[in-house]
Every structure is written in structure tokens, then in C-alpha cells.
């Protein structure tokens, strides 16, 4: 699918260049938004179906792989999409539309009115989504750490358990294969305390004796998240077939 191209087809001829640039700008902003459950961007997953612009008013339509994807993650993405678009200096309003989803009407209305999740689902939710977001940020952290370790040569001395962040940065400068996973990992690592390169999701250092167990846990999380994302891609592709 080519959402930007679809959207730009409706653009009037004379101002096409300016609008194309703005659509590209919106798309760039959206490419920073992640599906928190998968730690993949909404653009890479193909969730963005249309971007429409009229002056400072921006419309973004998105769709998930099935009508039955979890409503809480859908809500988080809708909120994040709106915030990212509103952050662009020229934008005066952002209309985010989730389509073909069991909770679409409620989510769209809530995001339009800037309601919280509890306000959107008064009898159905007990709390806001901070806890959910945090849990999946931790999973993303572990999966990204696994991606770094997976890109390293298999035998390392001394054990990676003893590396500092500076060691990891030095190493990543020497290898093209490492640069991207290290950058992705450190973006989350920097939110946690300490100088050790590889820590638990809570920021605790890993004892060398415990390293194998730790690496195993990372793998479980990484395998799970990757399979989930793949499942979503399979279902999304089937939906479009």
C-alpha cells in the first residue's frame, strides 16, 4: 500500500509541491510512532492508510490488521498519532480516524475530544494506560538488547556483562551491522541509570554468573515480539487480499 501516494492523488495541481512536502513531513512525524505491543513503527507496519491536508488541518486515517486488535493499544496509537501531527508547527488541527475496528467509534470520538482512556471507556476501564505502556516499553528494551547481542560476534571476551555504554558505542562505530541496533537500544537504555551497557529492564546490572539466564530471557521476549509482529503482517496482508 502507498498511503501518501493515495492521499496526494486528491491534491489540486497548482499547489501540489507544497502539499507533497507537507504530506512527507506528516509521514516523517508518523514514522516515529510505534505500535507499543510490537515495537514496530505504524508506517513500517502499513497501518497508515491516508494523509489528507487542507491548510493547517490534517487528517490521518489508520487501520490495524484486524477488527479485533486490542482496543487499548489502538487507543495509544491514535493518541500518539494525534500528538505527533499537532507537534508540527503549521498544524492547526489533527483529525485521527481509526477505521474498521470494533471500538473505532468510541476511540475516534475520545481522541477528537482529547479524553483519557478511562473517560473513553467509563465502565470498562479502571485505570489509564501508563502501566500497559510501561510493560511494553520494558519488553521493547529487552528485545532491542537482544538485537544488539545477536549482531555481535558469537564469542566475546570479556563477557558483555562487563561492558560499559562507552565500550558499546566504541564498538558500534567500527561496525555497520551494529550501528542501527545499538542506536535503537541506547535510545531506551539512556532512560535507565548506571554505566553498564547491558542491564535488566529495571536498570539493574547483570552479574556475569547470571549472564546466560539473562540472555535467555532476552531471547524469549525478542522471539515473542518478532512473531507477534509477523502474525500482524500475515493478517494485514490477508485482509488486503
Amino acid at each position: 500500500m502507498q498511503p501518501s501516494e493515495d492521499a496526494s492523488s486528491s491534491v489540486a495541481a497548482g499547489v501540489a509541491d507544497g502539499l507533497s512536502a507537507r504530506i512527507a513531513e506528516v509521514r516523517r512525524a508518523l514514522s516515529a510512532i510505534r505500535d507499543p505491543e510490537l515495537d514496530e513503527t505504524v508506517t513500517a507496519m502499513g497501518f497508515i492508510k491516508a494523509i489528507e491536508i487542507a491548510g493547517g488541518a490534517v487528517g490521518v486515517t489508520f487501520q490495524l490488521p484486524t477488527q479485533w486488535c486490542a482496543a487499548n493499544f489502538a487507543f495509544l496509537m491514535a493518541v500518539d498519532i494525534k500528538a505527533a501531527v499537532m507537534a508540527l508547527p503549521w498544524v492547526t488541527s489533527a483529525d485521527v480516524v481509526l477505521r474498521d475496528h470494533f471500538a473505532a467509534r468510541r476511540i475516534n470520538e475520545a481522541v477528537e475530544r482529547d479524553l483519557s482512556f478511562v473517560e473513553a471507556f467509563p465502565q470498562k476501564a479502571e485505570g489509564e494506560l501508563d502501566g500497559l505502556r510501561h510493560t511494553f516499553m520494558e519488553k521493547a528494551f529487552l528485545a532491542r538488547q537482544h538485537a544488539v547481542l545477536d549482531a555481535l560476534p558469537k564469542t566475546q571476551a570479556p563477557s558483555p556483562a562487563l561492558w560499559t555504554i562507552a565500550d558499546l558505542e566504541d564498538l558500534s562505530r567500527l561496525s555497520n551491522d551494529l550501528a542501527e541496533p545499538v542506536a535503537r537500544y541506547l535510545a531506551l537504555r539512556r532512560n535507565l541509570p548506571g554505566e553498564a551497557a547491558f542491564v535488566t529492564a529495571r536498570g539493574a546490572p547483570v552479574e556475569p554468573a547470571h549472564w546466560q539466564v539473562h540472555a535467555r530471557e532476552l531471547r524469549g521476549t525478542a522471539v515473542t515480539m518478532a512473531a507477534n509482529a509477523e502474525h500482524c503482517r500475515v493478517l494485514a496482508a490477508a485482509n488486503q487480499a
Binding site: A71, N72, K124, G220, A227, E230, H231, L235, N239, A241
Partner: protein
């Protein structure tokens, strides 16, 4: 039964099957349409192109086609049925015990018919379980925590109202509980797929066995953490095994995690019929191998013995099925005119 090129006879028990009615005539509302359409996406996405059905056939296939797909073309010696009502979406229910009993009536020696429970139904639900059990004599029940029921959008096993149902199961001699997580739950801000509430009931009811459908997918990591600690927790492989042809690399990594986390003795094959059919999965699984490095990662060898367990012996042991009896049953014969499989291809 699957027979290897060397003549080894392998018992096959499909641990996860349905007989549903997803036809428009049965839709209570638009959720009825979207629910079966989501299943259809799974069918199209994972089933090899030459094995795909038409959408009409997928919505309703009937007991005879099910018998053919499972017991004639699908290598299965037995099938375990997991009913779910979904009456909020379907007028007569989607895949009720009653609907599933049609296949049981057609192939009584080969079908294990489970019941379904919804612990939110209070005293009426307990009475219904007793009535259903009087009629069908269950070994197991299925519950779907994502099911909508009136104003409720789901529940957790750690909710107080679940306990009387598990006590009733114990009292009736129903000792197998299939747990299926769905996309909704209460509260809605909670991760509906989280399987850690299974830990709670598995500890409180050590004499019951809990089969987590889809091995907790999309939370295999959490499932392994729970099942690794609780010996009465099993993994139902439906959906995981469906990856074997469309996404073999992901299938392999998931299987390695599951073997490492809980080993080959508590994994139970399931096709999720009719989301897809067992024949192609079984053929692919029998041909599937782990190399030496992968075997080390898995902590277990995926040899013929392990495959036997996963494809049939584990389920037979769990349900107390007589392996020799199953492997010596007369083949299922269906009217030749109803060559529904040929029509599909």
C-alpha cells in the same frame, strides 16, 4: 494416523478443533461478521494457496466435511473439540457444545467433546454446566476470557467469581481446563493477552490441568515463564504450528523457546480447525528438523519420539485416550458423493 516412509505409525490427536456456524443468517450484529472475517484472515494468511477454501465454505462447513478433513484427509485418529458460545455475536451461538456434538455423533470413537464455561454466569451457569455434563460427560471445559457477555467485555482467571466454577469442575470430575485469551478483558486497560492469571489458578487448583491455547500467543514469553513453574500447565500449539509453512523461521524460534521453556511432554498439537486443516501442518511438522546448534538452544532433541508426543501421545495421556484402540479403529467412511474437499480445490 501418519505413517513415515520407514513405516513408523504415528498417533495423531488434533488438540484444537471446532464446528462453527459463521453464516450471515446466524450473525446477531456486525460483530458476527467481523469475528468470522478475522478468522478468515488467519485461514488465508497461513493456509498454503492450494489448500485454501472459499469464504462461503469457511463460514459453514458442516460435520461431514469436518470428519473428512480431520479423519480421512487429515491423518487424525482423534480430535478434541473446544466449544465457545459467542451468543452476543451469533443468534444460535458460534461453536457451541451442541453444534460440536454433531461431529461427535458422526464419529463417536474419535471425537472428544469438551464443554464450555463462562464464570460470569453465576448460579445459572453452574447449573448449566451440570446439565451439559449429565448429557455429554466432559473430561474438559474451555473458557474464553475475551468473550463478550452482556455489558462485560471479558474477565481474568484471578477474578473471584471464577473459583466456584473450577470447584464445580473438580466436583464433577472435569479436570482439564482449556484457557483461551482474547483481545478484550476487564478491565480494558489491562493487557488482555497476559497469561499470568493462569499461574494464580494453576497454583490454587494443582489437581486440575490447564491447557493454554495458542501457548499464550501473543505472549509466549509470559506463557513459558508460567508453564515453566507450574507442572499442571500445558501448551496448546494451535496457531504456533500454523506458522510452519508461511513463516518457518518464526515457527522454529517459537518452537525452540517452547521446548526450552516447558519441554516436549506438555505441548499439544492443534490445527485450530477450521481456521486451517491439519493435513499440511502434520506433513510439514514430520519433515521439520532442528540442527545441532538449534537442538542445544532448545535443550531437547526434536526426534521421532518428541514428535510422537507432541502430535498425539501428550493429548492421549492428558485425556486418558486408549492409544492402541485409536490406532486400530476402522477407517472413517463418508458418502463419496459429498466430496467436499475436492470441490474446495
Amino acid at each position: 494416523m501418519f505413517v513415515t516412509p520407514d513405516g513408523e505409525r504415528i498417533l495423531i490427536v488434533d488438540g484444537h478443533t471446532h464446528l462453527w456456524d459463521g453464516r450471515p443468517s446466524n450473525w446477531r450484529n456486525d460483530y458476527g461478521r467481523t469475528f468470522i472475517d478475522t478468522f478468515w484472515g488467519g485461514h488465508v494468511g497461513f493456509t498454503p494457496a492450494d489448500k485454501r477454501w472459499t469464504q462461503e465454505q469457511f463460514r459453514y462447513y458442516g460435520a461431514e466435511k469436518a470428519a473428512r478433513d480431520l479423519f480421512v484427509d487429515g491423518y487424525c485418529d482423534a480430535a478434541i473439540m473446544l466449544p465457545v458460545d459467542l451468543r452476543d455475536f451469533y443468534v444460535d451461538g458460534f461453536n457451541t457444545t451442541e453444534q460440536c456434538s454433531e461431529l461427535k455423533a458422526l464419529c463417536p470413537d474419535r471425537v472428544v467433546l469438551n464443554g464450555r464455561i463462562d464464570p460470569r454466569e453465576g448460579a445459572r451457569g453452574l447449573a448449566r454446566l451440570e446439565r451439559d455434563h449429565d448429557r455429554f460427560r466432559f473430561r474438559g471445559v474451555k473458557l474464553y476470557t475475551g468473550e463478550w457477555n452482556g455489558i462485560s467485555r471479558g474477565y481474568r482467571l484471578s477474578d473471584d467469581f471464577v473459583k466456584p466454577y473450577l470447584e464445580k469442575c473438580r466436583e464433577l470430575g472435569i479436570d482439564i481446563v482449556h484457557v483461551h485469551k482474547g483481545p478484550t478483558t476487564h478491565p480494558l486497560d489491562y493487557d488482555a493477552f497476559d497469561v499470568r492469571d493462569v499461574d494464580h489458578v494453576a497454583t490454587s487448583f494443582p489437581d486440575l490441568k490447564f491447557v493454554v491455547d495458542h501457548c499464550g500467543m501473543p505472549r509466549i514469553d509470559d506463557f513459558c515463564a508460567v508453564a515453566g513453574q507450574e507442572p499442571n500447565v500445558y501448551g496448546g500449539l494451535a496457531l504456533v504450528t500454523s506458522f510452519i509453512r508461511a513463516r518457518p523461521r518464526h515457527f522454529k524460534t517459537m518452537l525452540i523457546e517452547l521446548l526450552w521453556g516447558i519441554g516436549p511432554d506438555r505441548l499439544i498439537f492443534g490445527s485450530d480447525y477450521a481456521i486451517t486443516s491439519p493435513d499440511w501442518i502434520i506433513e510439514a511438522f514430520m519433515a521439520f528438523e532442528l540442527d545441532e546448534a538449534e537442538t542445544t538452544e532448545a535443550g531437547h532433541t526434536l526426534d521421532l519420539e518428541a514428535k510422537r508426543k507432541i502430535l498425539g501421545l501428550n493429548a492421549a495421556k492428558l485425556y486418558g485416550l486408549d492409544v492402541d484402540h485409536l490406532m486400530n479403529l476402522a477407517p472413517v467412511h463418508l458418502p463419496a458423493a459429498e466430496a467436499s474437499r475436492d470441490a474446495a480445490e
